[in-house]
């Protein structure tokens, strides 16, 4: 374990810690909205007919609207949490060309888009649930497919963290090498989710193992593990160089 945190953290370290801790409201709001209020765990089956989808949205319209609002708010904190992770990449790349920082920044911003737009499409489906069932289903499909299948903005984010971690030559790297290798494996494990576009049922469908459970568990485990390491890293950096915390 790292040394105990200094009693008075420098302002730079404090603000980084605050941003890092926003992972907690992100997870709380998302799980409260998605699971407790929305009951969307597991998600709707892609094999459901248009009428079944429309009936589901109609029967739970207000509950689902609140679910969408809460998940939408949760993404604010995903943004700030990702910023705390990117700040560590920027610290590693301090003297370099910062390409990983910029890539992670774009991927992180993309994550917010691929998170919020599906929520908006579900909201569209819920806004006039009385319209033709096929249209409700269309809006729902517009949401599910990018929500789980948009690998492009998601995958580069952990990949940048892993590469930056492996490049880190500092005495006390924030990201240990085992974590970087784990992150590469976790990123690869996300790839089968791209197959959701092919299947309405089976292991690769969006409500099954490779479309939902594996990416879902993978993402939240990674975010939680990364939280622990980034928090530990910020405290260690503040302890090692109390004046440098402000630079990061």
């Amino acid at each position: 374990m790292t040394s105990a945190p200094p009693r008075h953290l420098p302002a730079g370290a404090k603000v980084q810690l605050w941003f890092c801790y926003t992972m907690i409201p992100f997870m709380v709001l998302f799980f409260a909205g998605w699971v407790a209020i929305g009951h969307l765990l597991p998600p709707l089956a892609p094999s459901m007919t248009a009428v079944e989808v429309a009936d589901f949205f109609d029967a739970h319209r207000d509950r689902l609207r609140i679910c969408m609002m809460m998940c939408m708010v949760s993404t604010v904190f995903l943004m700030t949490y990702q910023a705390a992770i990117i700040a560590q990449i920027a610290r590693i790349e301090r003297d370099g060309p910062k390409v990983l920082t910029y890539t992670a920044l774009m991927a992180g911003a993309g994550n917010i888009v691929s998170f919020t737009f599906p929520l908006m499409f579900w909201t569209v489906a819920l806004f006039r649930v009385e319209r033709a069932p096929e249209l409700v289903q269309l809006a729902s499909d517009f949401a599910w497919l990018p929500f789980l299948g948009m690998l492009s903005p998601y995958v580069p984010f952990p990949a940048c963290v892993a590469i930056a971690g492996l490049m880190d030559k500092s005495a006390n790297p924030v990201f240990p090498r085992w974590y970087c290798y784990y992150t590469i494996a976790a990123t690869i494990a996300y790839l089968p989710a791209v197959m959701i576009v092919f299947f309405h049922e089976g292991w690769f469908a969006w409500n099954s193992v490779f479309g939902w459970w594996l990416p879902f568990a993978d993402t939240f485990t990674w975010l939680a593990l990364t939280f622990w390491l980034v928090r530990r890293g910020i405290l260690a950096q503040a302890a090692a160089a109390p004046d440098e915390g402000a630079v990061a």
Binding site: L166, M167, K169, P176, R177, W178, Y179, C180, Y181, Y182, I184, A185, A186, I188, A189, L191, P192, M195, F198, F199, G202, W203, F204, V209, L214
Partner: protein, 187 residues
């Protein structure tokens, strides 16, 4: 990537980390195999007719190709006593990967030409998913071996961690192929 490997106490974490990757990746393939086995038990007929339509000889040749590649990797990383020899062995191993991928494309062309697609049934779902996912691993392995071979060929010797990583990874790719070959082509 160069440097850093000679730092005392640094080599063990690197190796341990690599094994985290290997076991995590093996774990994912294990999940693939368990679910495929379950589908095989439920959709027995699809698997039998599907298997009969595959070019088993191409799969067998590819097994030999990858095993030869693994031998070349072992020679290049452990036996070769000059950098030039090591580079040649590793380039040969990388070429075995390219040959494997070429045969895989030929096999896909054959299956697709016969009208078999990913969504046809559970057998073809696993056939395309497992082999494509494995082929992606081969592609990465070819790049990794070529990188190490080039470092040997130039004056810049690769760090032993990189050589070991490339070697272990290639053996992993080989091991996974043998399992895939068994499940899809033979069982």
């Amino acid at each position: 990537m160069k440097g850093g490997h000679g730092v005392p106490g640094k080599s063990l974490p690197g190796e341990t980390g690599l094994w985290v990757f290997i076991f995590a990746d093996l774990g994912l393939f294990f999940l693939f195999f368990v679910l495929a086995a379950q589908d095989m038990a439920v959709h027995r007929e699809d698997f039998q007719t599907g298997q009969a339509g595959l070019l088993t000889w191409v799969g067998a040749v590819n097994t030999v190709v990858l095993l030869t590649g693994s031998w070349a990797v072992a020679m290049g990383t452990r036996v070769a006593n000059t950098a030039e020899r090591a580079s040649q062995y590793l380039k040969a191993a990388a070429l075995s990967g390219v040959l494997f991928l070429g045969l895989k494309v030929f096999e896909y062309a054959h299956s697709l030409g016969a009208g078999h697609v990913l969504t046809e049934n559970r057998f073809y779902m696993w056939y395309y998913a497992l082999t494509a996912y494995h082929a992606l691993h081969v592609l990465v392995g070819v790049g990794l071996l070529w990188l190490v071979a080039r470092r040997y060929a130039t004056a810049q010797r690769p760090g032993h961690l990189l050589v070991e990583a490339a070697g272990c990874y290639w053996h992993l790719v080989d091991l996974l192929w043998i399992e895939i070959f068994l499940i899809l082509y033979l069982l």
